[in-house]
Symmetry: C2
Subunit: 310 residues, 2 copies
């Protein structure tokens, strides 16, 4: 069973009120695969970096067990670079700079060995590129897709062509509202699912996540953390845990999706505890299991007796 992640591998320059660092290993595909590999031993990465990408970062990914056959190295180009600054309460950030560099001309070619990928995670890329990727995969069991305001605003029609090819769209609440042009999340979810994806997951950061699947809604809490060092990559790490559990379970029913969201939330709760992807480098199955179980206590509503009116 395999996961294919297509997305960015980047240099992140991050400022938080507590720490700052330049050119940290980042990008959606890095976080996603570093989380997913705890669940699945066949995690494949498709992306591009420049000649400036250090061997040390390649080693981090490779030592994590990630298959880098699909990582193109454009020796003449420079790696995609993002920089951002978090506010004091960590729930908001300003993007200071984005240098697309090698990403500007990225047209992913999927290695033949990846054509049989079971779960495909389409990172936040041009919807046209997302379709081109899917056209190269034989018969994926499940397609998970991310997008963002830039694509909603600038490539709406193209995004509408991609959505019918997607099983599960994962966006944040602002993106869901913008995509549906509707402030109410329940109505927005209806509208978005009408555009193609059978399942919709809305991430709400420190407020958890909502799952719309079949005719039910699941509200997952966020893990209450005392110490958030750096929220960078939390959304992609969430997607990694999500895809990881799904490929391991090899089922996509409501109960499995609920568990997958808990594992996604678990992985996200770990990654924000340290700067950059550091926390993803030294987790253990026991720690992951322990925190996932803590979510059940956190959300547990005791049995309600029959209602006795006054």
């Amino acid at each position: 069973m395999s996961i294919l992640a297509v997305g960015t591998v980047a240099f992140d320059s991050i400022e938080t009120p507590f720490e700052s660092a330049e050119r940290v290993l980042g990008g959606s595909a890095s976080y996603l695969t570093l989380a997913a590999r705890y669940f699945c031993d066949d995690v494949r990465l498709v992306g591009v970096v420049g000649g400036d990408f250090p061997e040390e970062y390649l080693r981090v990914l490779r030592d994590g067990g990630i298959d880098l056959q699909g990582l193109e190295i454009d020796a003449d180009g420079e790696t995609f670079a993002w920089s951002g600054r978090y506010h004091y309460d960590m729930n908001e950030r300003d993007t200071l700079d984005t240098q697309l560099n090698v990403l500007q001309s990225f047209e992913p070619t999927i290695p033949a060995a990846y054509h049989d990928s079971r779960i495909v995670c389409l990172g936040n890329l041009d919807p046209k590129i997302q379709r081109d990727v899917l056209a190269q995969i034989d018969n994926p069991a499940y397609v998970i897709c991310d997008t963002m305001n830039f694509w909603i605003e600038n490539t709406y029609d193209s995004l509408c062509e991609t959505l019918p090819l997607v099983d599960c769209l994962v966006v944040n609440d602002a993106e869901a509202r913008e995509l549906a042009d509707e402030p109410n999340l329940v109505k927005a979810a209806d509208r978005i699912r009408g555009m193609g994806p059978e399942t919709l997951i809305i991430k709400k950061g420190e407020h958890g996540a909502l799952l719309f699947s079949g005719d039910t809604i699941f509200s997952a809490p966020a893990y209450p953390l005392e110490d958030i060092q750096d929220p960078t990559g939390a959304g992609d790490t969430f997607a990694g845990g999500l895809a990881g559990h799904l490929v391991r379970a090899n089922r996509f029913d409501d109960a499995t999706l609920r568990r997958a969201i808990i594992y996604g939330s678990t992985m996200a709760s770990f990654v924000v505890e340290r700067f950059g992807p550091e926390r993803l480098l030294n987790l253990t199955p026991a720690r992951i299991a322990e925190r996932a179980h803590a979510f059940r206590d956190l959300a547990a509503i005791p049995e309600l007796s029959a209602f006795q009116p006054a």
Copy 2:
């Protein structure tokens, strides 16, 4: 078993994107008691209105079974009046005007028949008045308290004298952060509980609520509604369902508090479906039970198997 609610009874003038109305029955004690009376047949109200308060509104409360012996009518004064406007997404509002009127000189006298009240709900009033109220109650089993930014900013020391007398403080997330002077809610909760209240409930509006009691945290979801007509009174209605379940259960342990939050959330989810307190006037035990049970489905995390590492 009895609930005593001390708070405002008001005229609310409300503008939403869909509807507006002037001088609707409002105030924290109105919403709280109209919710609590579904759980308890001895709900007592202490507050003040002016000579302009219509008999019709008194009848609404009285027909709801609420004991109005403690509602002072200041024939020469005018009723407290609030007006506000909701934004399109209903999560934000602007207060347009506040006329304290009779509230300005309000010094609640608790009728002798109320001295044995079991649960006391201290509405969002001057902390000094909150203490004066408690001094008049013989031996309450449980004290629930609300406050707001105005009292935190202007009467901080007085609030610090009230908090040790409180069993359960119920505030929203912005108030919790301001009271603790700490953006992280877990740390803020620790600090606030150090100021007195054994239990803290943080309301997060459309994102649910957090309960900090004993050494556990409970994250309750909000009920996902397609149609929110008017959020006015949701927080006080929440407190009414909360107090209602607690007095009915006559226990204050973690499991009971969790259930109480679900009943509070249930009542709040109803009240926002109609303008003003209208929805609270015609509920049935069956409808309340049905929605409370729906919360369990909404939040249910299926059993997690032992973690199988990759």
